[in-house]
């Protein structure tokens, strides 16, 4: 692991945000189910409640979120696995045939999209379908790809100057990644906080 940036600790911060959001998302359903049970005239199954709670968010928003999450995975992989400077484990340059190719970074990104990206595509957009997301908040999420592209650009720069390393660009890439993650998780957090107030 690099001694210049505390990559693992900062990774834990991001993982913590994701895990917290999962907890919020789960607890949100617990609370709503509780409200509905207390006021409903009849028994119902969880899948009926899920169907009833679903709100269509629109093709544009779903596309943007899907794109953002996939890009997030790419940005994360680029930031942590481009060079051995961060985690010291497997990195992009351990596959010289890819690293030396003119389109090596493209192949790297495509590999990230194809494998974990498919899992993201199947599950992530559904999560947003259970929250009332205002039009303003949806417009704010448009900034997510901007920050992600900024993070990717920083990582690509670090990859091109390797074996040199510039911590400033890594931190910029990390902060951009963190902000984009916060933007993507805001609808869930906001929905949960509003639910907790009731």
């Amino acid at each position: 692991m690099s001694e210049t940036v505390p990559g693992l600790y900062l990774l834990a911060v991001m993982m913590g945000m994701v895990i917290l959001s999962l907890i919020f998302h789960t607890h949100y359903f617990v609370r709503v189910t509780d409200h509905v049970k207390k006021t409903s005239d009849r028994n119902f199954q969880r899948k009926d409640l899920m169907a009833a709670l679903h709100i269509p968010q629109g093709s544009n928003f779903n596309t943007m979120m899907l794109f953002s999450w996939i890009l997030f995975l790419v940005a994360f992989a680029f930031l942590y696995f481009m060079t051995p400077d961060i985690l010291g484990t497997w990195d992009y340059f351990r596959v010289p045939q890819v690293a030396s190719d003119s389109f090596g970074l493209v192949y790297f990104g495509a590999a990230v999209i194809l494998i974990p990206g498919i899992l993201v595509a199947l599950f992530v957009p559904q999560c947003y379908g259970y929250y009332q997301i205002s039009a303003q908040l949806k417009q704010v999420t448009l900034l997510t790809p901007v920050f992600l592209l900024a993070s990717i650009a920083c990582s690509v720069y670090l990859g091109t100057i390797y074996p040199e390393f510039n911590p400033f660009y890594w931190y910029v890439g990390y902060v951009a990644l963190l902000i984009s993650l916060a933007l993507m998780l805001t609808p869930i957090a906001k929905g949960y906080i509003e639910e907790m107030r009731t």
């Binding site: 409200h35 005239d41 119902f44 269509p56 968010q57 957009p125 009731t198």
Partner: protein
Amino acid sequence: MKPCVVGIGGAGGNILKQFLRNQDLNLVIHRFGELLAFGDVKGIWLESATQDTQGQNYYGNLSEGSYPPYLICHAGVGDSSATRSYVMEKYGFDLKAMGFDRRAEYLKAMFEIFELDPELKAKCSEEFKRSDNPLSGFMWNTGIRPFTTLSMGKSARVSEKAGSKDQEGTDGLPGRIPSILRSLNEIGRTKGAGELKSSRLCDSILFLASLGGGTGTGFINPITSFVRSEEVIFPIFALGILTEKGSDKRHAAEGQRYLGAVIAMYDLLTREAGQGIDGLLLMDNQILMERFEGNYSAMDGAIFGALKPLLDLRNYPGDQLQDDAPAIRRVIWEVEAENGKEQKDRGHEIRLLPPMLVPCYHTQPDTSGDIDTLVEGAFGKAGNLFPLGKDGRLFPCDPTKADRALVFTRGFFSTEEIAEAVSAIIHLPENKIKIYRKLGDSKNEDMLILLRNPYGGASGEHKRQGTLEWRLHEIITLSLKYIDENQTNILGFQSYKEITKDRLRNYFYGENGLIDELNNCLDRLENGERPIFTRPLKIFGDAAIEPPITDSCLVRPEMLAKDKYDLREMVKSELRQILKSEDCRRRIREILES
């Protein structure tokens, strides 16, 4: 309920914008899939004035495949149309006039001639092939029908053959990417792919129009009647926004606008079940003006906001069927149960007239108040009807007069507590309070209550400020005053031919015409009778129809022949008894001697 919302005229178009406001992310340069509106409603703007459609960039031309679309109602009539020439030469009406004449009776007359003039019907059928009314037929087949579930199946194929060849369908969107990305919109939905298309179409129609303006006021009845002539049981509702006091921006006098409103309401509410709308939702722009200090955007937003509980699709688990538009329609038409004796005593069939539905709406944050404060916010404090605009009533009325209440809530409430809270204020038994619960959004909760026919039952209510009788009495009185003082303005329109002037004169000023009938309406309002508007009137038809006997919100037809015979015999017998009496003979002798 997923209505196709049809905005008619300027006000209808502005309010429709609120209904169709995009719930999706705005990418500016491109749109994946269809525009997503609240409640997944679809909409179209019908307008007669082409110039009004040019001065905006929200709606696009339906014939170019734009969405949300507008449709010029006379676009299907060519400049050199034989039908147009015939109507102009015989009656003095121009089917392609921009904005028409902004009078309800102009459009009413113009649509009636298509129903009643056989020569015109023949010309129209020959020229337009698919319809005997080039305006209504065009608006329905090209504009509205394709958005509804009626456009699917066999009837759809018939309709498509009859429809305009310029129509590109409801999904004609610029830059739309099909299949893969479209399915992104449906990730997580439980409906299967085979159901997707039908679930996006509308199961009812909601017309939006001002009452007292121009195009909307004049069109709303003809178009609803035409739709009903083609589809007898498809749910059709109308939301009429009664014009505010004073002159409008086009300097149309208050009396003229109220006259238009009264004519429109009159025609809408005298069409029996199966011939017109299923219910008229009434809102008073005067209340909204006072509440929002003349901010029309805020007023439009408030109108849309009040209907959100009706349109929200997030029903309680297991309650999806409650949203069925035909079921809501049936509930709105429901009348009192009768026992066998009542049916026997009556001996003849009851006819039904569409009800007035007054919306009462209130919203509050989830954390403040409970169901009781929500209901009180919607109705106001008991007995406190004036001043208006301080509570959730969107049209003046006394909520305790309603004979039914349809309650739409968004929030986490039980059926029992809702029924109890509503019943406590309006004193309706719980079997007459129909409750439709939707899931809350954890931030705000709201409630829309549609009060059916909240008037009648007591005389003198027209003097009590804040009642429905009071407001209708006011606008009918002003309309009568306008008719009385403006005969030249009403009849003297430059293009009217003599036949039209004669018929209009008869309609307004003739025996059993509009003046007589409106005076009868005033009497009914003063006496607390129901319904208020009973006898259909036509300009070009026979207005001399015997007034029907009325009861509650029902209309009885003429007496059966047997009943008439029995009555005659009874009167003869009584007269014989009277003439035989000594007192009567003495009086007759006195008269002869004098």
